[in-house]
Every structure is written in C-alpha cells, then in structure tokens.
C-alpha cells in the first residue's frame, strides 16, 4: 500500500498515517471533547480503599518510574497523590513517598510534586508527609523497607536524618503501614513478592498502578489477594479523576486515547479492504489472462 507513493526515502502513506494521528490527538488536547469515561469496578475498588484511610494511618506511595515513562505513570499517580494529600489535610493521614528502581525515580517524584503543588502546600513537611526520593537497590530496597524501615530510609531528599522526622517515629516495619500505592511500569510482580498484605498483618491493602498491558499479568495476584486493587494506566487515571470529581490530565488523555483507538480500528479495516480489493483484482486479471 505504501510502497508505490514515495516522497524522498520515506513512503508517503506512512507519513500520512502519522500526520492524521497527530492531528486527531491534538484536537482533544486543545479543546477537550468530553467523551464518556465509564468507571470500572477495579478503579472504584481502589478509590474506596484509599478513601477508607483514617486519621493516623500511614500510606506509602512508591514510584518505580522515570521521566521516560512520565506520560503513562504521571496521570494516575497524580490523581492518587492528589487524593492522598487531600486525605492528609482532611483526616490527618500520613504519606511517605519514595522510589527504588533507578535514580530517575527522584526526578519523577519531583515532577509529579510540581504538578500537585496546591495540594501539598498547606501541609507540614515531616509531619504530614515525607519524601525519601530514591532508595537504591530496587527489590532489595523493597525487602529492606518491609523488615526495617528506619534502616532503609536513612535520609530524606533534603538530607534530614530519619530520626529527626517526627512522623517517622514508630514506623518500624511494613506492619506499621496501612496501605500502599505502588506505581510501576513493567515490574508489577515485585509488589506481591515483597509487600503482600497476606504476609504483613498491619498492612491492610496494596494498590498497584501499572501499565494497561500488565493487567493480565497481575490478575492472578489480585485473585489471590496479594494485590488488593489496581489502577491501570491513563485509563485508570481518567476514571480516578471522575471519582475524585475533579478532571485533570487523565481526562484529556482519555479523549485522545479514544480517538487514537478508533483511528487504529479504522486503519485495520482500511488496510484489509484495500488488501482484499487488490487481491480480487489481481486474481481477476489472472483469470482474464
């Protein structure tokens, strides 16, 4: 299809496919269309879990992302973070932030904090929430955090020692934590392996925020209960924002995603129609010969 028409070294049709995609996606970004977002049960469940936090409960938010995965990770993470900070303000929930996978985690956390500034500004740092940045070691760090919180989180991003942070007093192991928001790209299996609510008595639930494509992967864990709930990708973000009642990055993404998917379907259909048409034409010309 794309072979015959060429501009320079690049088949023209491919460029056209990309161009149409860019235009289609730019429309909802410039003026949101507001296509409907049905909320799935999984996101509803995760929202309810977060909403069940009470005064004094500890929420750990671990972000295994970097700037490369910002656009798939940030919309749901920001929705979750907004919810967490709102709860911290209204009910006195305490929030701990960090990442373990790579040095990029710290940058990523800074970036999403930048976007949620109005939500954490009224809070007291060190008493309501704390940011440990990057705790090196990935799964080892996760295992370390589960058994010895103080030993793993030695200093926060500002270089403050953990002993000097008031809210960290009394948090010794994972059993002292109530809930976990674990955001990952393609490594969701670390969560049930290291931080399972089945293993740690005090830990009531874990929410895994992961790529949509990773959802089938975590389903067995969700069935067994070693992951309690999940929020999937930008779609989960859109739904979560609906539940929060304040639309943001996720909702814009969802409009663009809907158009993108419809475009994909249209391309498949077009490619097949063209293929069948040319095939019937060639077979006809063969018959004539």
């Amino acid at each position: 299809m794309g072979e015959r028409v060429a501009l320079g070294t690049f088949p023209l049709t491919d460029r056209l496919v990309f161009l149409v995609f860019i235009i289609l996606v730019a429309i909802p970004i410039l003026s949101p269309i507001g296509l409907p977002i049905p909320v799935t049960d999984a996101t509803k469940k995760s929202f309810k879990l977060m909403d069940s936090l009470k005064s004094g409960d500890i929420l750990v938010m671990c972000f295994e992302q970097d700037m490369g995965t910002f656009y798939s990770g940030a919309p749901p993470d920001e929705a979750g973070l907004r919810h967490a900070f709102t709860l911290a303000k209204q009910r006195g929930v305490k929030v701990i932030l960090f990442g373990t996978s790579s040095a990029g985690c710290k940058v990523y956390i800074d970036a999403i904090l930048m976007d949620t500034k109005p939500y954490w500004e009224p809070l007291r740092y060190g008493e309501d929430w704390v940011n440990f940045g990057w705790l090196p070691g990935f799964e080892t760090a996760m295992a370390g955090f589960a058994r010895d919180v103080q030993g793993t989180c030695k200093v926060d991003v500002y270089g403050k020692r953990v002993e000097e942070i008031p809210m960290m007093r009394g948090i010794k192991t994972l059993s002292d934590v109530t809930g976990i928001w674990y955001s990952t790209n393609t490594n969701p299996d670390m969560l049930p392996r290291q931080w399972s609510p089945l293993e740690y008595k005090g830990l009531k639930w874990t929410i895994c925020q992961t790529l949509f494509a990773s959802v089938p992967w975590i389903m067995p864990y969700v069935d067994k209960g070693s992951i309690t709930g999940y929020v999937a990708d930008q779609r989960g973000a859109g739904e979560y924002e609906m539940l929060l009642g304040k639309l943001g990055m996720g909702a814009t993404f969802m409009d663009a995603q809907s158009l993108g998917h419809l475009y994909g379907i249209a391309l498949i259909v077009m490619a097949n129609v063209h293929y069948l048409y040319t095939r019937s034409k060639t077979s006809k010309s063969k018959e004539e010969k």
């Binding site: 794309g2 072979e3 070294t9 690049f10 088949p11 491919d14 490369g68 393609t186 494509a213």
Partner: protein, 255 residues
C-alpha cells in the same frame, strides 16, 4: 533449610529427559519440524548479496547477567549461523548491542562465522556496534541506522522489550526483509505482523539447537517434547482424579 521436593522432581525429570533425548539422538537422529525462519536465512542473505546491502542483527535488551541469559544464548547461536551465511555470500553484517560484555563475544562469533565460510578477510571489528547501556540509545541508533543504510535483512532474536516495535516498525517502513523471535509474550504479536518469518515463544530456544542440524542438539528438542507430553498427561490425569473428587495432585504440587 527446606526442600522444594516437587519442584526438584519436575526439574530433575526435565533435565533427565533432555539428556536422554541427546544420548538417544546420537544413535537415531530425530525428525524435527522445519522452522521457516531458519530455513530462509540463507535465502534472505542471498537476497542481501544481490541487492548489495548489509544484514542487521540484534539480540535486544536481554543479556547474560540477567534472567534472559538462555534466550540471549539462543539468539547468539542463530547469529553465528547468520554470520556463516554472510561469509558465504560475502555480505557485510552489523550487530547492535547495549551490553558491553556482548561486544567481545559477538566479535569472536562473527569472525568465527566468516572464517568458517572461508572469508575471514571480510570481517571488520566495526561490525559490532555498542550503543551504551540504555534502551533508548539503542533504539535511536538502530532507527537511524536502518533509515540511513536500508539493510536488506533485519533480524531480532532474543529477549526483546520496547525496542521490538521501534526496530521492526522502522524495518517495515524501510522495506527490509524481517526475521524475529522472542519468548516475551508482549512482543509476539508485533513480530507476528511485522516479520516475514518469526519464531514464536519457545521456538527461539529450540531454534538455537535446530539451527546447527546436529543430531545430539536435535535430540534435546525431542527431550523437551517428551516432557510436554508428560505435562499433557499430567493435566488429563489430574482432571480425571478431580472428577473422582480426589485432590492428590493439588497437594503434590504444593509439596
């Protein structure tokens, strides 16, 4: 201390079956179903020779130090074969990698391949291109290379991640003949639709042996098949037992 009894049993049984398969094959070579992807390597390299364009090969992001060691080994084994074909048709090849310890291995392997085909003078250390240890760097290098040089054949065998799409998508636009193989489920459909010939799932592992056409190597594939028959039998028997209300196997698995 503990003992994972059942797992050890399964593992030992599998190793034994593979070993017996190899031993038996020395006397009576088994018949292995042909893998189109391997059968057509020679033809594709021949086409590259006609077009006067290079062959590009990559094993993706997986390396030897992580859990993708076996599939990388299988991919490298296929690369040895491709190097041989390239030597035969006097076609330059290029191997892109993100793992520095693969550089000497690939250099030796390609040189060995060209040497076996009798054209060691064509070998050049620049055939192995290292792009730093990061996936995105590799993606950019491969995409730029494919668009600039337009290799005739584009091959990707190994534990591949996101770069599969960039690599094979660019190849499709540049009009390369494409070969692929990976055991990673995410990227199988992408390979399926963009490659002319591809190895699905475990076929990559088997191909590492089948590419040599040596009886004892083929014997290991026979061993794998025996084990799979054993698994099928296991499934049937456990279902029959479950119908009878017995849960022996369920308990056995947890041992």
């Amino acid at each position: 201390m503990y003992l994972k009894g059942f797992e050890l049993f399964v593992f030992a049984a599998l190793c034994l079956l593979v070993y017996l398969g190899i031993e038996r094959a020395k006397r009576k070579p088994p018949e292995v179903r042909p893998f189109p992807a391997l059968e057509h390597i020679d033809e594709a390299v021949g086409r590259a020779a006609e077009m006067g364009r290079p062959v590009h090969f990559s094993t993706g992001l997986g390396g030897l130090h992580d859990e993708w060691a076996p599939v990388t080994t299988a991919g490298l084994a296929i690369m040895g074969e491709v190097a041989k074909a390239c030597g035969k048709y006097r076609v330059p090849m290029r191997y892109t990698t993100v793992l520095s310890y693969l550089v000497p291995i690939a250099e030796d392997l390609i040189k060995f391949g060209y040497d076996t085909a009798g054209h060691v003078e064509l070998y050049n250390p620049d055939m192995v291109v290292y792009t730093g240890e990061e996936q995105r760097a590799m993606m950019s290098a491969m995409m730029g290379y494919i668009m600039r040089e337009k290799p005739a054949v584009n091959m990707l065998f190994g534990a591949t991640k996101y770069e599969t799409i960039n690599f094979l998508g660019t190849g499709a636009i540049a009009g390369c003949m494409q070969f692929g193989g990976t055991p990673r489920l995410y990227y199988l459909p992408v390979m399926m639709v963009t490659c002319d010939y591809c190895l699905l799932g475990e076929e990559v592992y088997a191909a590492g042996a089948a590419v040599t056409k040596e009886p004892s190597q083929l014997g290991s594939i026979k061993g794998i098949d025996h084990f799979k028959i054993f698994v099928l039998g296991w499934m049937i028997v456990s279902l029959i037992l479950a119908l009878a209300g017995l849960d022996w196997f369920g308990k056995l698995i947890k041992m």
